[in-house]
Symmetry: D2
Subunit: 339 residues, 4 copies
């Protein structure tokens, strides 16, 4: 049961994701309120705070965190600003929900891991929201039950209608495949040890210079092989799914499609246009679970180590893209805090 006071949250960054989280906390999440917002652009900060009772706008993340009404921090600023914001939260001992990526590269992610380890207690949850999608949760539950024996392979699909301008091969790994990296680690409860990238002739719909689609392969410490079809300019919609192949059975999520329609000589239905529609429930559930855990004083979701391990696997992925060869994932030793 809850205590009477809602959790006061400072939302750092009020761009697309930040604004969406502010709306969520204000109108969907139980037991929390937006106590402060921070954006480098004072107008945007003021606009975001407008109409929310008791919400103060700031331009400096650290100042927002110092607001006495603030009990916890949600970081939704660009990835390059995450490290500083995380360190500021560590200084104040504030619990954090940090949008992915934890930081833009493995080196900085490792610094965050080490800082939190020095602190001696976990404060950070990383925003890998697929862990809160009903389908992935059911898949995880099935794999953990052992009903199909050991898991031997995963087949991921990750399709998106189109990439934003300036999207690079490295973005394909760091911004898209990073989800399959996290899901793989989480579903299998192990680390990715090597990455291999195979590149077909790109689609004519792929922007000049972008090798889309790609087939990305993971090896894990437990001997599993996982493949991901990554296709970010497929045109037809946003589609994400995973089939887990166990010793005695397989299970697949991502095929539920809502309304079945017969019309115009065709049966079928619509495909959602983007991840916001596809994972709306998962985003809601992620924030609610984080608020619930935070009010109980615990951290339950993916943490700094998960953010770091994903960054390290991404680094190997980018190397594998470039060389065309298998790249091994180099991981620091895991601090006791994360065991």
């Amino acid at each position: 049961m809850s205590t009477d006071t809602p959790l006061g949250i400072a939302v750092i960054g009020t761009g697309r994701m930040g604004a969406d989280h502010i709306r969520r906390i204000d109108t969907v999440t139980n037991g929390a309120r937006v106590a402060a917002v921070a954006d480098i652009d004072p107008d945007r900060a003021a606009h975001a705070a407008h109409g929310i009772e008791g919400c103060t706008p700031y331009t400096d993340p650290a100042a927002a965190m110092a607001d006495p009404a603030v009990d916890a921090v949600l970081i939704a600023s660009p990835g390059a600003a995450h490290e500083a914001a995380l360190m500021a939260a560590f200084d104040r001992g504030l619990p954090v929900l940090c949008e992915k990526p934890l930081t833009p590269d493995a080196e900085s992610a490792l610094r965050v891991v080490e800082a939190e380890a020095r602190l001696g207690r976990r404060l950070v949850q990383v925003g890998f929201m697929r862990r809160y999608d009903t389908g992935y949760l059911r898949l995880k539950q099935l794999l953990d039950s052992g009903a199909h024996g050991r898991t031997l392979m995963l087949h991921h699909k990750h399709r998106n209608p189109a990439t934003p301008p300036g999207f690079t091969d490295a973005n394909l790994i760091n911004d898209s495949v990073v989800h399959e990296i996290d899901v793989t680690r989480w579903l299998l409860g192990t680390e990715i040890t090597a990455v291999h990238v195979l590149r077909p002739t790109p689609s004519s719909a792929a922007p000049e210079g972008l090798g889309d689609p790609q087939l990305v392969l993971f090896e894990t410490a437990d001997g599993q092989i996982c493949d991901t079809e990554l296709f970010q300019n497929c045109g037809f919609g946003y589609q994400v799914g995973c089939e887990a192949v166990g010793e005695t059975g397989t299970a697949r999520t991502g095929d539920d499609h809502g309304l079945l329609v017969n019309a115009d000589g065709r049966w079928g239905g619509t495909i959602p246009p983007g991840y916001v529609e596809r994972f709306a429930d998962a985003y809601d559930r992620q924030v609610q679970r984080w608020v619930d855990a935070t009010r109980r004083g615990v951290v339950k979701g993916p943490g700094c180590w998960d953010g770091y391990a994903a960054a390290a696997a991404c680094a190997a992925g980018v190397r594998a893209q470039t060389t065309g060869a298998r790249a091994t994932v180099e991981l620091a030793e895991r601090p006791d805090l994360y065991r």
Copy 2:
């Protein structure tokens, strides 16, 4: 955007549904809190209020509604107690979410309609939660779009693993088919004018005296024909769905099944055991929408007229069961408040 004070709700009745709503408001719903609970059993009331900050237990519903912290009422007591509770809420001008049925029969439901009409403003939302299920919402949206022309027929399915002890033929209509009655009226935006019930030889799994399954047919004021397979002792799980047949296309909800599994010589997945699992999201969404609307001072969901019209159609259904013949639905004139 919300105001700062959460809506204080008095929950009347703390049995299975009441307790579930208390948990929901306390831990899921944004912008609301349980301010009072009422149960004829003082121990149960006290138990329900325990651990919720600022929640006072009562044995008298009217006393709970008189608590100054109470802004709105959620009625989850047995149906026979609804009329008195509704009248008490009307006395205080409190907004109400009333679990279905509005009242146990058409006569008492009409008295509630007339009382609210005299009041001159709508206060009551009735708990027809299927209107908040994603699949039914998408179906409604499609029908309203006119993409398939006029709707000509609906095919409903309503299957349940087993009936509780003492369940009668009348319960089949009043407690089960009542959902198809409401969904039909809502999806088609019209009234049901006649009901016909066809009864096959009952399943050997049906309790002695219960004619299960049944095929229940509705005629509507707009000339549609709707059929419902009602099978409440099917054994295999809880399954609810609807296909709408339009002039140029059909659309079906209720076939989404989550995880697809291959194992043991079979493909497929699991069927939920009951309505709580099947409609968990719909219950959450219903209460959130009611709280949101109430805080804005409006009533958006199904109201007293819907509760009454459903009761009138149920009465016709029970007559049709008994006589084996077509029974017409007798409706009072619709007060202006509900036009």
Copy 3:
């Protein structure tokens, strides 16, 4: 194992269905050949026989049956000509595959039944080809296995893009629902005892005067209730299916749809345009099974009694359409030959 000589078949009627059967026997069916064709139009008969080694064209069906190369008869002429052709085949003791309907009404069908009964041995198979569709066969096998207990209900769907010119309400029963009548009798192994027809406001796509769609209800001698959505101007394609509701489970055929496509913001696939495409395999299998049985000297498929019983149920259906009331099926006593 086969004998060396192929079965010589006389095909009576060389219109659309006749021509298709000639092609089938000539190029698909094992162990048979087209030995003679008959058409009232001599040019059409000659055209149909052209290029088929050893095939003689006739204008008189009885003359074709008298050809010494003829061992069996396939009747594909208009329904009004069936009775005379069947009697001619009876005169010669020739096995017959007779396209549905056996004859156009129950009275003439009963005369055929009586004639065959007098003959004292079964010669006729009626062309209810759905009994040879893989899906319906699997459904039949499952029901017969008793895996789901007694069957309590059937839900049929029968959709067609558009009716031919001049199609009447009676055609809806005699030419379309006749298939559901046969499938119901066959799947359940019982007789239909009463028919009821409910008529929604017709689709604007239905030709003037045609009440399309309709909901047709059967009661059976074993206490089952069966419903058929009959929609013959649905526009979007040809769709046929059946769900059988047993005491402990249900089974559905007609949802298999071939290739699954993701494109243009939609998932799904195509719907076949007509029964020829949908039941191509069933037609092939029907003729092959008939040839195989005939060469072994036996009759295995639906016979004259099935043709008569379907005609009697159709007659009740047409009465039910007209009166809006339940119409009972009147059946003559079943001759011993068909027990």
Copy 4:
């Protein structure tokens, strides 16, 4: 239209596949008959010929081919005997349907290619029966239509309940993946240029020494990347499917599952136990198409070059299994006969 005389076929080898083909030609295929059978075991040959009118048993394949009643040859003997049988058929200029593999290795397959090329006309069709499966045919048709632009990737699945005793890693390629090799070449109309094999920790259900499952990757001359999940001891049934990823859409075959059943808390259906059940129609269609083409004096299906190219890709696959590295496919120059 057919000529009057059925094609006289010599079936070489009367083991499981040979016996099944004899039954098929005798009872299913139109326009053909079994004129001779050959088996090294005279009792088995006599048993196979028994009861078939005009069928002579032999122990020597060449003698069977010399029978004056023989017009064409179906080779279903063990792979090691294929080369000699093919050469014997070439000597007599007889059309051949040769079960896969054409021969057991690329070297011998190349000798057959060269022999046929010297002959200057095509006589041989190789038994890659998936090309006759309705689903794969529809997929091929869609890809060829260009509706989804160029094809970029294929995802194959090939699951089998259990391997026979003595099955080796090389068998996984030569007997199982060979189908995906042929389907890939056929669907894409190009050659496979390299193979890569990734091996997870084997399933505990895999026999000692067999690395099952495996992930087999192809690169093609047109720049496509194709993956195959090969899992031959999955236990739960036989499942084969393929998804083609085009520039603007994807299409998948292999998900059609027949009857949908609700029972025992589960929805779903059965998985066929083996390839004979799964591809029964494809085998029938393959032989019928071969007979039809042969009677018209043409060769339409996959030929010696396809058999050789598959063998060469298999050789690369076995090398890739052993080394763990990418292995290039080495192909001889394609003779003009196969352009």
